[in-house]
């Protein structure tokens, strides 16, 4: 279980996390989505006991990170967004060192390390120097390292960032396997579709605030409730914008390039028909009225846009 309660982090006067409340139940794979600088890594560093919150607190497996960080460390596997390796270590020794650091006996290490190397597909690199591994391999090795003490909770900060498409897919396969092992996983990304497939729940963070949370299908439902519509006009831009802004179901009208206007629409299909009819009657010189094919990423963009303006 992972829970944050009014989690707040300030860097000087800048608020990176603002009263963040999360609740992730055991065995859930939780996707934490947000744009660059949204506060994902900050949240993860607090969960990993690497940083103290300014206010509020977080619980991992029922343990308060501000009260008993030692206990939290034993149950989490943390993979930072950027990390280094001890370059003079070989792959196996690298894992062996961290295993020992978690107090695993030599026999336990001997047993678990080959399994982990197998899991992350690095068995053939057992004797390579860590420094000579490719970026994707290092990333997988770091994931294996975070699993060495068989933690209940995994905190993975953009584990697939900087990887090529093939390596991304490999990483996703490994994570799916971890999910079947029943671990509670919180994983961040700024690309929503990447997470959608393997996450049970998604939280969207923007400017340090949690702005949407729910299952992937719930988020998809939100997407259907809010359509994105693009209207093309030849002239009378101002008049057109005023016309659509007057409709109660229209939100967030924006002027696009070369005569296009974009807005969110939350009315029903019948309302939409009426809107088109009214527009024609009002002499709006429409060339086209188009509902955007939206995918999860658009929803995400929409959600974050709304917040920025509100």
């Amino acid at each position: 279980m992972i829970e944050t309660v009014n989690l707040t982090k300030k860097y000087g006067s800048f608020t990176a996390l603002n009263d963040l409340n999360l609740s992730i139940s055991d065995g859930t794979v939780f996707g934490f989505v947000g744009q660059n600088g949204a506060g994902k890594s900050t949240t993860f560093q607090i969960l990993a006991t690497l940083m103290a919150p300014t206010n509020g607190t977080a619980f991992v497996n029922g343990v308060d990170v501000t009260k008993d960080p030692e206990k939290v460390r034993k149950v989490i596997g943390y993979m930072p967004d950027f990390f280094g390796v001890y370059d003079q270590f070989k792959t196996e020794e690298y894992l062996d060192f961290y295993g020992a650091s978690y107090g695993l006996s030599a026999r336990e290490r001997e047993e678990v390390i080959p399994q982990l190397l197998e899991l992350v597909n690095l068995s053939n690199k057992r004797d390579s120097y860590v420094d000579l591994l490719s970026r994707g391999m290092k990333q997988r090795l770091c994931l294996a390292r975070s699993l060495i003490h068989d933690p209940k909770v995994l905190i993975l900060d953009e584990p697939a960032s900087g990887l090529d498409p093939r390596a991304r897919i490999e990483m996703r396969e490994i994570l799916k396997e971890l999910k079947t092992m029943g671990k509670t996983i919180i994983i961040s990304s700024h690309i929503l579709p990447e997470l959608a497939e393997m996450c049970d729940e998604i939280g969207v963070i923007d400017n340090g605030k949690l702005i949407a949370t729910g299952t992937v299908s719930e988020i998809q439902l939100k997407l259907q409730q809010q359509k994105v519509i693009i209207v093309m006009v030849t002239r009378d831009m101002e008049k057109t914008i005023r016309f659509f802004e007057d409709d109660p179901d229209v939100i967030n009208v924006q002027r696009g390039s070369n005569g296009s206007i974009q807005f969110g629409y939350k009315g029903s299909d019948e309302d939409q028909q009426m809107l088109i009819k009214k527009a024609v009657m009002a002499d709006i010189p429409m060339l086209s009225f188009k509902q955007l094919e939206t995918n999860l990423e658009d929803v995400f963009m929409e959600i974050t846009k709304g917040v920025e303006e509100g």
Partner: protein, 282 residues
Amino acid sequence: MKSTLINPVLNKEIRLRFRSSKSYIGIASYLGILGLISLGFIGLTLSYDYMGTFRPEESRSMFLLISMLQLALVIFITPGLTAGVISSERERQTLPILLTTAQSSTAIILSKLISSLSFLLLIVFATAPLYMIVFLYGGISPSNVVASFSLYAFAMLVIGSFGILASTIIRKTILAMVTTYSVAFFMTGGLAIITLMLTTFSYQFYNQGTDYIWPFLFASLNIPIMFFSVFEPSVMMEFQSMSGFGFSPWIIFFSFYSLFIVGCLIIAIRKLRPNMKIKSKS
């Protein structure tokens, strides 16, 4: 049992250190420098000696020369070996991962200290054969050698503890090094100069018949002067009689620096990880 004796961090540090060729080059050049200077000294002494022999007095001054030189090298090398141990892991981004393991802050700091100092101790012990030459010609006792080696170890601990503290609280290795070198040079050269300057005032006090404790105090805190006094106690005795203090300068020396070592290490251990407790707003 074994795993509690050999801490994994210590084990790793020692293994990695001996894997790097830099370490061997370091040992070799250290021995080279010391060996060349000793041989040069013997050569020079012999060429000026009308009898063409190496006498015990000469052997003794050579011992003093090697010992002081070695102390200088220890003071010079310790900051370089310790001031990067934490900050370089921070710079190479291996520190956050290490800090999320189950290793306690105490274990990490002490392992780092022990591993860097044991490397330096190894270098110093590797110079032991040089002392054999001195023994061969006489003039010094084994207890002199033991005393000097113990003082090397103590000097390493003093400067090394500060180096680790600097490395923990200063983010950049370069800055931590500069700070540690400054402190090390102040403790050695700086304090010696202050002692010297204070001594120049001593005659005034002597004439007035009052006690003058400052040169004694500063000299007691100066590692090279104290080291020298093991072999040539006269200077220190002079300071002591001037000060009117009855007790040994070694009491001041060891109590001050023991507190210093413990203080540095405790702060480093406290500061290694963030204090997770939320500061209550006042």
